[in-house]
Each structure stands twice: as structure tokens, then as C-alpha cells.
Symmetry: C2
Subunit: 210 residues, 2 copies
């Protein structure tokens, strides 16, 4: 059974998944790269990086994934819909290598890039988007890519099977929170926590099948 | 040099240190005992409890402490100032065994109970309260007891030397947050994280002395 999975989703101690304001120069606002330093220090990101618990989690990102769904805020800075040449942050060869479905109220034509990544644009509810992505993924899993607003929607709609969060020990103070409106979301999941020598704590929420 | 320390301060994943509404029947509101289950399962609380990392942290609560400062919301439910017979939640022999300074805008006479605990009531700023508590503690340390609002005030005033937090993997959704207004508070501290088999993660913030 194809599952929906979230990987390497990093939040601050106070629950922010991005700072503010977001722009073309600062995709995570005042957070800069601080939420993802842990990941950029692993072999997953850098061939000379670390090879311990942080890498073990990070490299699961692409393992058995057949499609991704991402929110409009992940695909580009505010206003990207007005720029017909915008093709995402990731250049000619994005690190997805599957179909990627971008949720936006202003869909455009699909964009095929190198390495197997094709961006499709959908104005759709979470469950409809998931049906489309599952079809594209075949027997493989669907990654829910974030950002925080769309992940909240998928969690609230009970559409997530596996959630890997990384709590970074900084207090961002402002930005976009993950947890708002998700009281009690832990019920129905097995939750594990493991801290890393790098200082971050990995949390996994795995759906309990009844 | 006497230090100011915080121990066993438990928060949810979304940063709430208490639920709502708080009352005489439900000191932590809808959170119930969920933020402190980890502690009640240790030898610190229960002689037949666990004796591992959770206990190692929990029992530091009283180690070398000569006085506590607590907020009005920790001492009693809303309106306790109108009840002349209210002597705290803890019965005849409270677990403090030192002078305890309760911050309130409506001070009353001191209350001496068994086991060395005396409650004093102060209408004072954090730094003034700390000066008074330090005097009472002699060479020993001062524990900052919480709740979250008064702890925020002490953190914002840069008066904390050691902060032990326990992140419990539940999403409370509502209550009183610890982190509000504390952007960047981690700078100036050494931060460590260690997860426990019980599922909680212990965080320590230790002031870096320059």
C-alpha cells in the first residue's frame, strides 16, 4: 500500500518551519539556513559530510518515493505566479527526480526539467491532490513536501502516514508555525524521539494501522 | 557564585507549559497530568519508579537549592488571593523545604509549613525578587519555579543560568506558551538535547560565562 511520507521537515523549538519575511533572496526569511544546517552537514547533502543518525534520517528523503506534493510557498517566493520564467529554486536538475505536484490557485503548464523532475500545477484539495499523485507514483510512496501551511492541511485531513520532524534548538520567534490547529494530532501515531550529537532531535510519527 | 536554575519544566511539542482553563480541579487545564507523566514515573516521585535518564534529571530539582521563586499562577488557581485559607497545592509538607517567594501583586503574610517550606509573598520585579531570594539562599542556588509567564520574564531579563526543559511529544494546541517573545534566547547558552526511552527529550540551556 502506497504511503504518504514527510521527511527532513525542520522546525525551531517554538515550532516555526520558516522565518519571515520570505523572499527570492531569503526563502526562509530571517531563519536563513539555520533550520537546515544539520542536513547540509550530512553525506546526503555533501559527499564529505557526516554519516551517522542525521544522515540515516536525511537520506530516506528519496527512498521509495514516486511523486511529491508541495505547497505554493515551497515552489517559489511570494508572487512567483506572476513570473512566467520561474521554474523553482532548484535550477536545471532539481533534487526530486519524480513528478512533483505544486498546489496553487493559479495553475500553469507543466515544466519538465532534467533528472526526471516534472512540475505539475494543481488547484486541488489535499485529498484530490493525493489521488492524482498516487496515480503518478504507481506502487511507490508519495512525499508531502511542505511548507508548513500545506503540511498542516494534510495532517488535519488525516492524510499522513509517516512524519519525520527535526527539532532544531533555536527560538525563531516569528514565521509560520507547524502546529497551529493540530491539538491532539499525536493520537493515532507511534511517536519516537532521538537526539543527535549535532544537537537536533529527530521525531517520527508513524501511523498506527488498526 | 549562586546560580539561578530551572528544573523539570515540561512543555508540549507546540511549546505550551500548561493547558487551559486552569482551576482548582485542573491545575494544568486540559493538559491534565500529561506534561508530567514522565516525572511521576521516576524514583524522584515514586520509590518504585524508573532510575535512568529521566530520574537523573528529575532529582536535580532540590540539589543545592536554597530558595525558590514562583509565579502567582503556580501557587494557586485563579482567585487564590481572595481565599485567606489557601496555602498552596502541596498540603502540610510541601516538596520545597526552603523559603519560597511567591510573586503576586497582592502580597499577604508569610506561611510557615512543615519540612522547612515557608511561603513569602512579594510584589516585585524579577531582579528585585532574585536579590531577595539570593539573600535567603545564602551560598546555595535559587530555583526559578515557573509557571511559564514568570519564567519568560526571567529569561527576557537574562536572569537564568541553567534551564532544564522537558519536551513531551504531545500537541496541546492551547494554554500558556513558554517561548513567546524570546526570539534568539539560545544565544549565550550551551544547549544540549537528549531523548529518553520514555519518549520525552531533555534540553539543557547552560549560561556561557565569558
Amino acid at each position: 500500500m502506497s504511503r504518504t511520507r514527510v521527511h527532513n521537515f525542520s522546525i525551531s523549538l517554538d515550532g516555526f518551519a520558516t522565518g519571515e519575511p520570505q523572499s527570492a533572496e531569503a526563502p526562509f526569511g530571517h531563519a536563513g539556513q539555520r533550520l537546515h544546517t544539520w542536513m547540509m552537514a550530512t553525506r546526503f547533502w555533501d559527499p564529505s559530510g557526516s554519516d551517522g543518525v542525521d544522515h540515516a534520517f536525511a537520506q530516506r528523503h528519496s527512498d521509495g518515493i514516486g511523486a511529491e506534493i508541495m505547497g505554493a510557498h515551497k515552489f517559489g517566493p511570494p508572487g512567483w505566479q506572476d513570473d512566467p520564467d520561474w521554474t523553482g529554486w532548484w535550477g536545471e536538475n532539481p533534487p526530486f527526480h519524480t513528478p512533483v505536484f505544486v498546489l496553487t490557485h493559479r495553475p500553469r503548464s507543466s515544466i519538465e526539467l532534467d533528472g526526471g523532475t516534472t512540475f505539475h500545477f494543481l488547484d486541488a484539495s489535499p485529498d484530490h491532490a493525493l489521488a492524482v499523485a498516487r496515480e503518478a507514483a504507481g506502487d511507490l510512496d508519495v512525499r508531502i513536501g511542505g511548507g508548513p501551511s500545506m503540511l498542516r492541511d494534510f495532517l488535519a485531513a488525516d492524510l499522513i502516514d509517516h512524519l519525520h520532524l527535526v527539532v532544531v534548538p533555536i527560538v525563531l520567534g516569528r514565521g509560520v508555525r507547524l502546529w497551529d490547529g493540530l491539538e491532539g494530532i499525536e493520537s493515532g501515531f507511534e511517536v519516537e524521539s532521538v537526539s543527535s550529537p549535532s544537537g537536533v532531535t529527530h521525531l517520527t510519527f508513524t501511523r498506527v494501522r488498526s
